[in-house]
């Protein structure tokens, strides 16, 4: 029986892992991820979850242990934040390079200095090249729902890639929301046990994983296979979203959720918890001012839904990205990816990037509304000189 409880995002992630019947859980505590770890340990110790917790001595070792456990054929889960995620960085490539569908909750937190436990998305956005599927979610319910989905996506034989479910620290991880805890039998039906057929360390059919090559043997080809798997994962993410919706009554839109796109001249695109605010602003501007503004909540940053967003946004005059992360020296990571996919010879929407919410700075309804109105005024401009806008810099 599904039940409803008041849960933080962190506890929702722990419940999601329990429902997915994860088998090995190596972890290292870091604020704001810590309650995920504590709750899963509690589940294991009180017998609600049959799994092995390994209290690792660093995140680098966490991801190494996760790689080793997953390579043995055990469904493996972990969670981390910020500097911990960066400490894993090397081994993130190993998980994806060996094609191991580890799932990780990334509880987003600023990468210092300045060091803080507050959030933006700079920790996970900058892991974009590690060949992990990254899905950004908006609230605690979506956190819980996405953990079983993440396993079904990653473990699909068309994919076999690790999956990160990213949600912002404190604002999602530590605030309570009413969350429906899924029925275990239905989750078991939705997500059967993981018993890998291809990549597994088994003395009865030995294989070497993580080979070293002394020339360019297969490197290009193996990377290309990862690219193909990432491409195939787009369809799988959509299918799994459909299957989840059919089973549990909640659909999230797969790669991204687009609202009020038909006839929209300006579209606001964002990801993570900011989606709730931006959606409300867009709704108000449409309902009360009748402005033709649409909204996109980007969910998958990797695979980046380039073709799909191009199809969705080709008719608009201006697209605005609001993102809590930046690649200093270039612009916001989502904006940069969106630029390449909208780039066309004939016509390209005006594309504007707002860097907001760094270090957990509040992004208010009013601010988003001002951004929307500003861009709406600019929508017919032939070109703009300042596409990347640091919106909240004090004293500027």
């Amino acid at each position: 029986m599904a039940t409803r409880k008041m849960l933080t995002g962190n506890y929702a992630a722990a419940y999601g892992a329990k429902l997915a019947r994860v088998e090995v859980f190596p972890a290292f505590p870091i604020t704001p991820q810590t309650p995920v770890m504590e709750k899963i340990v509690e589940f294991i110790e009180n017998g609600e979850l049959d799994a092995e917790f390994i209290p690792m001595e660093s995140e680098h070792s966490v991801m190494a242990a996760a790689v080793a456990a997953e390579a043995m054929g055990a469904r493996t889960f972990t969670a981390t934040s910020s500097q911990g995620l960066l400490y894993m960085h090397e081994n993130l490539f190993v998980a994806s390079g060996i094609r191991l569908p580890v799932v990780m909750a990334i509880v987003n937190r600023v990468v210092g200095p300045p060091n803080t436990v507050l959030n933006d998305l700079s920790d996970s956005l900058d892991q974009r090249d590690t060949s992990w599927i990254q899905i950004y979610v908006e609230n605690a319910q979506e956190v819980l729902d996405m953990i079983p989905q993440a396993y079904r996506i990653g473990e699909d034989e068309r994919v076999l890639l690790p999956v990160a479910i990213c949600f912002e620290g404190i604002i999602i991880s530590h605030y309570m929301e009413p969350v429906e805890i899924l029925d275990q039998d239905k989750v078991d039906h939705f997500l059967p046990p993981y018993r890998p057929k291809q990549v597994v360390l088994d003395p009865d059919r030995p294989m070497s994983l993580g080979q070293i090559v002394m020339d360019d043997t297969y490197i290009t080809e193996m990377k290309y296979q990862q690219q193909e798997a990432m491409d195939r994962s787009k369809a799988v993410i959509r299918e799994v979203d459909e299957a989840f919706g059919d089973a549990f009554g909640r659909w999230y839109g797969g790669l991204f959720a687009a609202e009020w796109i038909d006839g929209a001249e300006v579209v606001l695109l964002t990801l993570g918890s900011l989606a709730s605010t931006v959606r409300a602003v867009v709704k108000q501007l449409r309902d009360e001012a009748g402005l033709p503004i649409g909204f996109v909540k980007l969910r998958a940053f990797r695979p980046f839904p380039a073709q799909e967003l191009r199809d969705c946004l080709s008719h608009v005059k201006a697209a605005v990205v609001l993102e809590k992360g930046v690649s200093i020296g270039a612009g916001g990571p989502v904006f940069l990816d969106l630029s390449h996919c909208l780039n066309r010879r004939d016509r390209m929407p005006l594309l504007i990037d707002y860097i907001v919410g760094l270090g957990g700075r509040d992004v208010t309804f009013e601010e988003v509304r001002n951004i929307a109105l500003t861009v709406f005024e600019e929508r017919h401009a032939d070109s703009i000189t300042n596409p990347v806008r640091w919106h909240q810099v004090r004293g500027l």
């Binding site: 090995v24 390579a71 493996t76 003395p203 030995p206």
Partner: protein, 296 residues
Amino acid sequence: MINNPRDALFKEDYFHPGHPLCPGCPGGMALRWIMKVLGRDSIANVGATCLCLPTHVYPHSLEIPSLYIAMAPSPAGISGMSAAIRILKRKGVIPAEKRITVFAISGDGSTADIGMAALSGAAERNDDGLYFCFDNEAYMNTGIQRSSTTPQFSWTFSTTKGKVQRKKDLPKIMAAHDIPYVATLSVAYPEDFVRKVEKARDMGPGFKYFQIHGPCPTGWRFPEHKTVEVARLAVETGFWSLYEVVHGSFNITYRPRKRLPVVDYVKLQGRFQGLTAQDIRTLQNWVDEKEEGPGS
């Protein structure tokens, strides 16, 4: 049953000729004996070491499953694998009665330097597996740079005037982790080698640490047919000692009848070329203190 270590040496091979190690490399011998003892139902975690070459450099491989993660974290590989085996046995995916031995093998740089935290973590948790540090006393696979286990005065490409510091005593550090088994190994003493690995294999769950003294003809600058001679002289001079620590109890497993002077060992190796009489006295004092000091 009388357990004769010689039996193991005549067992089937899972490590094959034609490997790409340097001529005279003791690592080939060591890995071959380890594989003979651990057998087919074992899984390897290989860290950064010259022994990557025969185990993980395409197209070479062992005849057992093996995983290379990265330079540092092969101890964490033991942790992940042994945890996976426990849960998969509880769930009946792996038959409960099947014995699978998990082991790691890594170099002195990856063990004593970059992987020290991972090693200490796995040992403190007492995760189930055997860890072999192949200690050739420098970063040999990257072309002879110092590590924390390089002995004092040794030449390397990053200590061209000789290393200033002494060799880190890693087996003692591991013994201080209160793990079930710590042992030092030498390729000049195969029976001692094999007996210790068998003992650790059969002693039940827990973290077992081995350090293999690995005289390296390429990096230590001696002729490749002298590997075993150099290895033996290391032990006969006390430069390297053969012992085991079983649940905290320290036993010397081979004691030279009369310790030879350290100069006999040093003079065979180009890496110690140019040592002064004072340097040799310093090394001799280090050996004497080490051999006669507490815990020996």
